[in-house]
């Protein structure tokens, strides 16, 4: 009851008095079974849930966030166990551009309030998890987000209803039995269930979630850590100095994030053990499938590693179990361990979702995540979206969608989709004349943080208008959903489009790549397509690709084969504003796609064209002819004459050979339209 009153309060603050009276006047417990309705229900007040709440709030939507803990970001009150975040808090970039600076801010959520930037919350480059909790608390409070704390949603079901936006309502039931009816369900519960591998002896293993973080407890011990992710290495790092040695066992080889360019792989800040392993300091790494393992405890309470295979054969009495070293006396793990620790990551909690939601686990590579479409909508039920860490199946091991600095943008994309789907608000865009196309692209590739963080997942889209005289610019569209662009954005793509993406070189990212190889960087514009470091790539399509084309795109391509493609050459400073190195080749690419001339001209040149040609280049048409020509100054004109691109007409005299502006001098390029001037121009027309 109290809840429904509170909910109404948000909707109609003006009716405060009425609402306050309401519970007193109608004290009927029967109403508790009538579900309170919300257009949008967000599960979880972690970073993703709060981020979505922010967008819903700004758009004035009817929503509620459900959080089982008494405050936001409860994950960070316990994890990482050693308290240090490995997402960087880069407070200085030497640039004032706030959008650019978000490229190097991995902790802030998106908001209009500059005070809500994480750099105001911590000075540490790798900040403390407690600061994140404080930050998220402030984010929720300052922005007045509607979060129901201490509300554990225990069960979610589907209720078919013709009137519902999606043909069904989501019915959420909390721990007290209170039900909520939601038109759209946004699941931002993260990954909350520790991943446990079942093998004989797994009961002897300490879990990351409950192990001791006090190094004193490990003094002089032999430690075996299962797992090879950041939590495993972080654990090792903590006790490296006090143990006899640490062995680390995992199914596959360690993946170094600086080789894979994936922030979820092992970060350099945690890789101390790699150093001591390779410098022969007794620590070491091994690979094996954990499901084949068995751990047996001997009479001294020490742990021995053996194979499940052996256990099945023989009897199970602890000291009599055959060990691998019985056959193979140099078996690597023949030593006895004092402790075995499990650091195997987390899984999504599927348990609260009823079967009717058809929320299933992702593919082979991402079983721990629920299966979603490129638009983050569940494949099983319309209107159910997965946000935040749990939505990482879309770009697992590729981009940053499982982390704050990535999913803050994908959440925004989902919100834009919802605004179009349910409220007729088309995807935000700006419209420009075609002469601004190169500038619009250059601006975004140099500052856009969403493109940079969510490379190859979110891409900007340029929709051309008829005859390509103007274009619409859409930001950060989920590129795998390109075929559905018209329905998702509510905008038309009938006359061709460009997709602006950021990519690493195709051969540059992988667990065993040498990313420091000689000649790894490309400097020449004609080799731009071989660029290795993150760089902008622009795809041109005459027609919107179909779903089939997107699905069956060539291997290794983020998009189907385009009509033409352009790579802006990689840049050491990620500053793609060089006039000749970056902008000129881009302009040539755009010109050739659109079959037009996109150069800019001074008013004087436009004046000459206006009186000597029937057609004008777009820059003159859209600027000069609308009395917005670029006049220029004397010193610029002088440079123009020196470069041979402009003529000094004052010196054009009688007896001059009469060079046409279209003529080509050696080392000079024509001002005139592309195709060589037809010989007809010089012919007498009377004939």
């Amino acid at each position: 009851m109290g809840l429904s009153a509170a909910a109404l309060l948000w909707g109609l603050p003006g009716l405060l008095l009425t609402i306050a009276l309401h519970p007193a006047l109608s004290p009927c417990p029967a109403q508790a079974s009538v579900p309170a309705h919300r257009d949008y229900c967000v599960l979880g007040a972690g970073p993703a849930g709060l981020q979505m709440a922010y967008f819903l709030q700004r758009a004035g939507r009817d929503y509620a966030v459900f959080e089982r803990a008494p405050g936001p970001g409860s994950f960070f009150t316990r994890y990482p166990r050693h308290g240090k975040l490995i997402s960087i808090n880069k407070r200085y970039t030497g640039k004032a551009n706030a959008e650019f600076n978000l490229r190097h801010d991995w902790n802030s959520l998106l908001s209009h309030d500059p005070r809500l930037l994480f750099r105001h919350y911590s000075n540490a480059y790798f900040p403390d998890a407690g600061d994140m909790v404080r930050y998220l608390g402030d984010f929720a409070d300052r922005l007045g987000l509607h979060v129901l704390y201490n509300t554990t949603i225990a069960h979610v079901t589907l209720n078919k209803d013709q009137r519902a936006w999606n043909g069904h309502y989501f019915i959420l039931t909390d721990q007290k039995g209170q039900a909520y009816q939601c038109s759209v369900l946004l699941v931002a519960t993260g990954l909350s269930v520790p991943n446990q591998v079942d093998f004989p002896g797994s009961e002897y293993v300490d879990g990351y979630e409950s192990m001791s973080v006090d190094p004193k407890d490990f003094v002089g011990q032999n430690v075996l850590i299962l797992g090879r992710g950041n939590s495993a290495f972080e654990t090792a790092e903590n006790i490296l100095g006090v143990t006899n040695f640490i062995h680390m066992l995992s199914r596959s080889r360690v993946r170094l994030s600086w080789a894979t360019h994936y922030v979820g792989d092992l970060r350099a800040i945690n890789n101390g053990l790699l150093d001591t392993y390779q410098l022969k300091s007794l620590d070491g790494l091994l690979e094996s499938d954990l499901t084949d393992l068995a751990i047996v405890k001997d009479h001294e309470g020490k742990f021995h590693v053996t194979l499940k295979f052996f256990l099945e054969e023989g009897n199970r009495s602890a000291d009599a179990v055959p060990l691998p070293q019985d056959d193979n006396d140099n078996f690597a793990l023949r030593v006895a361990y004092d402790r075995v620790i499990r650091c195997l990551g987390w899984n999504f909690d599927f348990s609260i979702f009823s079967k009717s939601l058809r929320l299933s686990a992702g593919g082979e590579l991402s079983k721990k995540y629920p299966l979603v479409k490129a638009s983050y909508e569940s494949k099983g039920s319309r209107g159910l979206f997965v946000l935040g860490t749990a939505s990482h199946s879309v770009d697992y091991r590729k981009s940053a969608g499982g982390f704050i600095h990535g999913f803050r943008y994908t959440v925004r994309a989902v919100h834009r989709l919802l605004e179009q789907r349910h409220h007729g608000v088309t995807w935000p865009s700006t419209e420009h004349p075609i002469t601004q196309l190169a500038s619009a692209i250059i601006r975004r590739v140099n500052e856009a943080s969403g493109l940079y963080q969510m490379f190859s997942v979110l891409a900007d889209v340029v929709l051309l208008e008829e005859n390509a005289t103007a274009f619409e610019y859409l930001e950060e569209f989920p590129m795998q959903a390109l075929a559905q662009l018209e329905t998702i954005t509510g905008r038309r793509a009938r006359h061709g489009l460009f997709v602006i993406n950021m990519e690493y070189g195709r051969n540059f990212s992988g667990p065993d790549k040498d990313v420091f190889f000689h000649d790894r960087s490309v400097g020449h514009t004609e080799d731009a397509w071989l660029s290795n470091f993150l760089h902008p790539v622009i795809y041109y399509y005459r027609h919107l690709p179909t779903e089939q084309e997107v699905r069956f795109r060539p291997a290794g391509w983020p998009l189907p084969r385009p009509t033409a493609i352009h790579h802006i050459v990689e840049d050491f400073l990620t500053d793609w504003t060089a006039p000749v190195g970056h902008i000129l080749p881009l302009r040539r690419f755009l010109e050739n796609c659109l079959d037009t001339d996109l150069r800019s001209f001074y008013a004087e040149s436009c004046f000459l064209f206006a009186l000597t040609r029937q057609k004008l280049p777009p820059f003159c048409q859209q600027g000069y002819l609308r009395t917005q020509g670029l006049v220029g100054t004397e010193s610029l004109r002088q440079h123009g004459v020196e470069s041979g691109l402009l003529r000094d007409y004052a010196t054009v005299g009688r007896g001059d050979s009469g060079q046409q502006p279209g003529d080509r001098r050696p080392g000079q390029h024509p001002l005139a339209p592309g195709p060589p001037v037809s010989p007809f121009d010089s012919n007498k027309e009377e004939l």
């Binding site: 004032a96 706030a98 959008e99 596959s252 080889r253 084949d292 691998p324 193979n328 690597a332 590579l365 619009a440 250059i442 051969n507 992988g510 065993d512 731009a528 397509w529 291997a555 033409a564 493609i565 790579h567 504003t577 006039p579 000749v580 040539r588 010109e591 079959d595 037009t596 001339d597 150069r599 008013a603 004046f607 206006a610 009186l611 000597t612 029937q614 057609k615 004008l616 609308r626 020509g629 670029l630 006049v631 220029g632 100054t633 010193s635 610029l636 440079h639 691109l645 007409y649 004052a650 009688r654 009469g658 024509p670 339209p673 592309g674 195709p675 037809s678 007809f680 012919n683 027309e685």
Partner: protein
């Protein structure tokens, strides 16, 4: 017409005669100049059936020597067609009717045997191309049908359906190099195909051609058409009209549309390869033969004239090639291996061929020793000049740089102009220089604060001000909405905008005396030079709607025109004085000291803006770079008087008189001072090639047709002469000196074709650079990674073996092996 009829009957004889004539060529061409004969001698040498072009002249007139040079040059090509060229000297005593009088001295005559076929005034034979084209045109009268209407074309088409194919060409004029190329082709192929020629653009347009500026040749496939209601299929020749290209094109039209082969594509050769065109093999299998054949035919039609298309029957083929390849591409160059491709649709095949043609053309350029255009050289004049100027220190301190923190405080504290620019964007950096110039000019005099925001740094500030492109200038005044500047991006116009915005328009005038001062320009003495007119709205105090409309218009015109409003009780004093009924506008032209009045009953703000804008145009302006766009909006042909320095008062008077008598209503008369607008020389050069004597009058029809007409330079620019000339012009009796080119603005240079570079690495194997071949490994490795990991343990049969992996050294070995294994898969 009589001689031509006869020619046609004897024409086949001429063809037979060619071989004989060819034998003479060696002898003839060894002679440097034309044979010079007397008339009598000449007529005696004429052989029956043989064509001769003869030029009759009195002496080596200086004026005719250019023609003789051209004729001399045409001798050789004409002889190739069995036509001899002779110069007949009339100086000797003998006379002939062909020698004629002074007037027709300038003529050349074409004979077949003794029969005169045609006479040509020498100015139609202005160069070699014209000579060859005209002579062949006359000889091939029947083979080449000249038509002017679509009806003619349809009749020809209908007549030939089921019988013969047509080569239809459009050339811009008779005597052009393209015309010659068509005639030369007709000489060879004229008996096989019906050649049809037109010079009518309208005809070309009516068959749906877009780029009508160029010559075109279409091949109409009429022979296979049996149903008369059906249209003949058309193939457009896409290369330029040269003899060689036409030959190549017609050869490909003759070749079979689709050939079936069952041999190694590497060994196959057709006429296409000899012509330098690639071959496209569509791979077919027994099971899908019918469908493949249909596809192949479809492709063949699309590629007709561009490539040969063959159907490759795979089943009976012994050569081994990639299983999934469905298209094989063979370049014309020898020694280039064939490419096996997987292309999912016909468009891809076509674009593959077309992009390849592009490359071929570029290669040709290189062969011709013309260095290929360097795509890395800046050809954008604004970008280049800004770049060259980058090291100059601008006195930026004269303007205030705003930031996210200071923006709002600054623009609310004082009236400000803000330039939004981006440091990396050339156009806005060029304009920044003009902006700084304005700051220099206004230094210490203006109450307006000049500020700037670099949107590359403060993108949020710019976004909040709705600035998404650069450069943008906005004016922020207390209590008013920001106004965007929409004038020329230059010092003068921006200065004018800032100055005129010192007063808040429309100015409220409070007394009749003040109104008079306003109209005389005394009230805003320092500003009238910036506004060509001052506008005063007169309203009686009760006309609230009309006043609102006017105020809105005044607001809109802020910064362009000075506007004022008067609506006191004694407003009738003014309306009576200027004889208008209220509401009304008074328009004071300060330069001319004139005051006009316009009634404003029921006129909306938009229309008021229009009225004022039109009124501020001059009737005979000096045209400049800055004001041309305003006059072009009138959409009338321009009558421009080009003058080197200020205008001759007599000329001005003449034009003003014509204006007054309404003879120039269909034109926009203006004059151009080459001293103020030196680019005018560039314009004259484009019209006349060399700079003509000035002053000079021209009519430029920019909006329809692009013709340029020049007033005869030998006539004085007087009212009478001008009027006569304009009348003739209107009646279509004057011929233009030039048609302005109507070419579209295409990309100045090609772009890097990264897509084909990427294709090249995937279709060809390791010979390339290292990083490229790693590319392929990468894909496989990623795919393989998971299964590989699992198999490492699971598939091993016994525990003993398995444990070996766990040995440290073994583990390294194993990893190495695995890596090698991946490499082998390459």
């Amino acid at each position: 017409m009589q001689p031509q009829l006869m020619m046609s009957s004897s024409f086949s004889v001429l063809r037979v005669g060619i071989s004989f004539v060819m034998m003479c060529i060696f002898y003839m061409s060894a002679v440097d100049s034309l044979p010079e004969l007397s008339p009598q001698k000449f007529f005696s040498t004429l052989q029956p059936g043989k064509a001769t072009l003869a030029y009759f002249c009195q002496a080596d007139f200086p004026s005719t020597s250019v023609f003789l040079e051209e004729l001399n040059e045409a001798d050789k090509p004409l002889q190739d067609y069995g036509i001899s060229v002779t110069k007949v000297n009339c100086v000797t005593k003998e006379t002939s009717r062909y020698c004629g009088s002074e007037k027709n001295l300038m003529k050349a005559y074409l004979f077949r045997g003794h029969i005169l076929l045609r006479e040509f005034p020498t100015d139609t034979l202005f160069n070699v191309d014209a000579i060859v084209a005209h002579v062949l045109f006359a000889l091939l009268f029947n083979e080449v049908k000249y038509i002017t209407t679509l009806g003619d074309l349809q009749n020809t088409e209908n007549a030939l359906k089921g019988k013969a194919n047509i080569a239809f060409s459009y050339v811009r004029a008779i005597g052009t190099p393209e015309h010659r190329a068509v005639m030369e082709a007709a000489f060879v192929y004229g008996t096989t195909y019906q050649f049809v020629l037109t010079t009518e653009i309208a005809l070309l347009q009516s068959i749906g051609t877009e780029d009508i500026e160029y010559a075109h040749l279409y091949f109409f496939h009429c022979k296979p058409v049996l149903d008369l209601t059906q249209q003949c299929r058309r193939t457009l020749m896409e290369q330029s009209l040269t003899t060689l290209n036409i030959h190549r094109f017609i050869k490909t039209m003759e070749a079979p549309l689709l050939t079936e082969v069952a041999e190694d594509p590497q060994q196959v050769s057709t006429v296409h390869l000899q012509l330098g065109l690639p071959l496209v093999f569509i791979v077919s299998q027994q099971a899908t033969y019918e469908a493949d054949r249909t596809t192949a035919e479809w492709v063949a039609w699309r590629l007709l004239g561009k490539a040969g298309v063959l159907l490759l029957l795979r089943d009976s083929l012994e050569v081994d090639f990639p299983k999934n390849a469905n298209v094989v591409f063979k370049r014309a160059e020898e020694g280039v291996p064939v490419e096996f491709l997987v292309l999912s649709n016909i468009d891809l095949i076509v674009s593959r061929v077309e992009s390849n043609m592009h490359i071929e053309e570029m290669h040709e350029d290189e062969d011709n020793d013309i260095e290929g255009p360097d795509m890395d050289i800046q050809d954008d004049e604004v970008a280049e000049t800004v770049y060259r100027d980058r090291k100059r220190q601008l006195p930026l301190e004269l303007t205030v740089e705003l930031t996210e923190e200071t923006f709002n405080a600054t623009v609310t504290a004082s009236d400000s102009i803000v330039l939004f620019y981006a440091g990396w964007q050339a156009v806005s950096m060029a304009f920044l220089q003009s902006y700084i110039d304005v700051a220099i000019k206004l230094k210490g005099t203006s109450t307006m604060l000049l500020t700037r925001v670099n949107c590359a740094d403060w993108s949020h500030v710019c976004a909040k001000q709705n600035v998404t492109e650069f450069p943008v200038v906005k004016m922020y005044k207390e209590g008013e909405n920001p106004v965007s500047y929409a004038g020329m991006l230059g010092t003068e116009d921006l200065l004018k905008f800032i100055q005129l915005n010192r007063i808040s328009c429309p100015v409220n005038i409070t007394s009749v005396q003040e109104a008079e001062e306003y109209l005389s320009g005394k009230l805003h003495k320092d500003l009238v030079s910036y506004s060509s007119v001052s506008v005063l709205g007169l309203f009686s105090p009760t006309m609230t709607t009309a006043k609102e409309e006017f105020t809105e218009a005044g607001n809109y015109l802020k910064g362009c025109v000075i506007t004022g409003i008067y609506s006191e009780e004694d407003v009738l004093t003014l309306s009576n004085k200027y004889a208008v009924t209220l509401p009304a506008l008074l328009l004071a032209r300060h330069k001319e000291g004139k005051i006009e009045s316009i009634s404003l009953a029921n006129v909306h703000a938009q229309e008021i803006v229009q009225i004022i804008t039109n009124a501020s145009l001059e009737i005979f302006p000096e045209i400049t770079v800055e004001n041309l766009p305003t006059y072009l909006r009138l959409q009338k042909p321009l009558l421009i008087l080009f003058s080197d320095g200020s205008i001759n008062p007599q000329h001005k008077k003449a034009i003003l008189m014509l204006l007054k008598e309404k003879h120039l209503d269909s034109l926009t008369p203006c004059w151009l001072n080459l001293k103020n607008t030196p680019v005018g020389r560039g314009i004259l050069q484009a019209y006349f090639d060399t700079l003509p004597p000035l002053p000079l009058l021209a009519v430029v029809n920019l909006h329809s047709g692009g013709q340029v007409f020049a007033f005869p330079s030998d006539q004085a620019i007087t009212e009478r002469n001008l009027l006569l000339w304009l009348k003739k012009l209107e009646a279509g009796l004057e011929s233009h000196i030039k048609i302005l080119p109507a070419q579209k603005w295409k990309p100045p240079l090609p772009a890097y074709d990264f897509l084909s570079m990427m294709d090249a690495t995937t279709s060809q194997h390791p010979t390339r650079k290292v990083p490229e071949c790693i590319k392929e490994t990468d894909v496989k490795e990623n795919d393989k990674e998971q299964p590989e990991d699992k198999s490492a343990i699971r598939n091993e049969p016994t525990g003993t073996l398995r444990t070996k992996h766990w040995n440290r050294s073994n583990w390294f070995e194993e990893a190495k092996k695995q890596f090698r294994h991946d490499n082998k898969e390459l």
